[in-house]
Symmetry: C2
Subunit: 360 residues, 2 copies
């Protein structure tokens, strides 16, 4: 077995999910990630935990089911909920045989499926969970890389000194937690201001996402003013939206456009009231992610990027007891900050052309 796979499994078990003796562990992975799954089973067993439930997912079976299902008859799967409730740890390995496998499922069925299975996802979020990536050939293809090159890319981003990364990111956390107004400028297409006063910034050191490597907070919902052009493409439910543009007034999107698949962007914004407001401001800080790969798990952690999400805000970012922006969606979009760009907090530059002031 590739020794990088063994390292990956150890990081999942020891760092991200802290598996202990007696834990009931679910490993959900596609067959193409067989080697990582084998390594995970061994690591889990060595810690005295129970990986009894190893479930090889397949998008083809899900597509076969959803393609034949009447969306009106879809119900909450009680047995899947029971499994999620009883699991202490949930390890979700992302990898594909074909990233477009679900493309034939009607979008109404897909959306009903998400809705009825929402309680299962919420239960999983209550466990010690991690989402990670195995570098399968189809995922390499999606990233426009050879499989060898993609393996190196994925495992470089994952096999890091996460304690050092946490300390590095903490500098940005402290700036945002102490600050109020954030000002983001890129070229002549993005000039956006928002308040983060009273919000908490989260330091993502690869607990729930492996790789991790971002800090994120929630903007004050009605404080967002200005315009932003997302120069990295947004892939939403298999559709690529290019050059998404949003203009905000009083926190709300008042104008939008895209050069490709504008209707997909419109559909997102029309989901509900919260879908026209920002729920997240994130700053990528993982320097080993040095290229865009059409995979949000990696893209949003890129060193020279900022991402904004329309829709739902994360509870952990909000003041105790306060509800933030609510929505059925949370759609991340990325701004490239590597050139002709800066981030200011309360009038002071904290990042210019991708370099943080504490990195100089």
């Amino acid at each position: 077995m590739d020794p990088r796979i063994r390292n990956h499994a150890e990081t999942v078990v020891d760092h991200s999910t802290e598996v202990e003796a007696g834990d009931d562990v679910v490993v959900s992975a596609p067959s193409v990630a067989e080697d990582l799954t084998l390594a995970l089973c061994e690591e889990i067993a060595e810690r005295g935990a129970n990986p009894f439930h190893v479930s090889f997912r397949m998008d083809r079976t899900r597509a076969a089911f959803l393609g034949a299902a009447d969306p009106e008859e879809l119900e909450l799967p009680e047995h899947e909920l029971a499994l999620a409730e009883a699991a202490d740890v949930w390890i979700h390995v992302r990898a594909h045989d074909n990233v477009a496998e679900m493309s034939g499922v009607p979008s109404e069925t897909m959306s009903t499926f998400r809705k009825v299975s929402q309680p299962v996802r919420e239960e999983i979020l209550d466990s010690r969970w991690v989402l990670t990536q195995y570098p399968a050939p189809a995922d390499a293809q999606n990233a426009e890389m050879s499989t060898d090159e993609y393996e190196e890319f994925v495992w470089s981003a994952i096999d890091k000194d996460w304690a050092a990364q946490r300390d590095h990111q903490q500098q940005m956390v402290e700036i945002l937690d102490a600050g109020e107004e954030v000002h983001i400028v890129s070229g002549d297409t993005t000039d956006l201001r928002m308040s983060v006063a009273g919000m908490t910034t989260i330091n993502d050191d690869a607990g729930n996402n492996l790789p991790g490597g971002e800090v994120f907070t929630a903007p004050v919902a009605d404080s967002v003013e200005g315009e932003v052009l997302f120069d990295k493409p947004l892939v939403h439910q298999g559709h690529e939206v290019e050059d998404a543009y949003l203009r905000f007034e009083g926190g709300e999107v008042v104008d939008h456009s895209a050069t490709k698949n504008e209707d997909v962007l419109t559909e997102v914004l029309n989901t509900d009231e919260g879908a026209r407001r920002l729920g997240e401001l994130g700053i990528g800080m993982n320097r080993d992610i040095d290229r865009f790969t059409y995979n949000m798990l990696f893209d949003e952690k890129m060193g020279d990027t900022v991402h904004l999400a329309v829709g739902m805000a994360y509870e952990a970012c909000l003041p105790e007891g306060e509800t933030g922006n609510e929505s059925a969606v949370h759609v991340d979009m990325i701004v490239d900050m590597s050139e002709d760009s800066f981030i200011e907090v309360d009038g002071e530059i904290v990042q210019r052309n991708g370099t943080f002031r504490f990195e100089e």
Copy 2:
């Protein structure tokens, strides 16, 4: 997709498990049975049920886990139990990449694993469950057949008129239910008498086993007298026992031998007190199973065979409220009845050289 796979899936869903709208269905299958699993997902969805939980098992992951586990730390997997409790239907597809995959796991670990996960198996037996076979290349190899030939063998045994088969088998059920003493003779090596007085004979028409095709009952525990040579090899935990021989007095095994792996037979008989008594008398009646394939799911249903199991008796065969022979094991062994053999019930011949009197 091979049309025989579609037929197989329909038989599982409509005949064996009677899937209905709203049912929560677990499909547990190895990746090598992908096509059957896809067909099952479609059939289940078309009936308005939920196959949300499709779990691709892999013997390699289980072997990786058990090979690394300390047997003393193995615990009941609560999450797997919760899944089994919440499932309405459990479809278990047997198929292998390598039938010897578990051979490196220490037998002590294997036995502890069986013990701690016993409550899960009991929960599955409380659902509408079926065990069926997909004809994978490794299973064909185990049967000493080409994959094409094995596919034809498996699907011929499965794609039957099960109502007609049930009626055919019912003739034998009525003879056994009305009878008391069963006398089994084969060549000069098997001459065994036992009582089935008061016992109920079960008509296996492919509800829990697909293929089905046997009738079975429980002998009165202390009534078994005589000797039996099992001329079909017994495969127990990967070990092949040849020419197993048992001699009974007062229902108990008082002498035993084998020409190969006799120690495995000895170990089975020494498990507990019930392991030295018979728990089952079964008569194979599926005429499409015309050869021995080292797979008990098929072998015990062969048209010209009788099987006896040492160990646990099935509750359904016993008089209401009575407990039968109890044991941690239930090990089936087969006698070839095709030549120089007969079965008598209360002194009347019911089968001679493999042909039932109602078939003449």
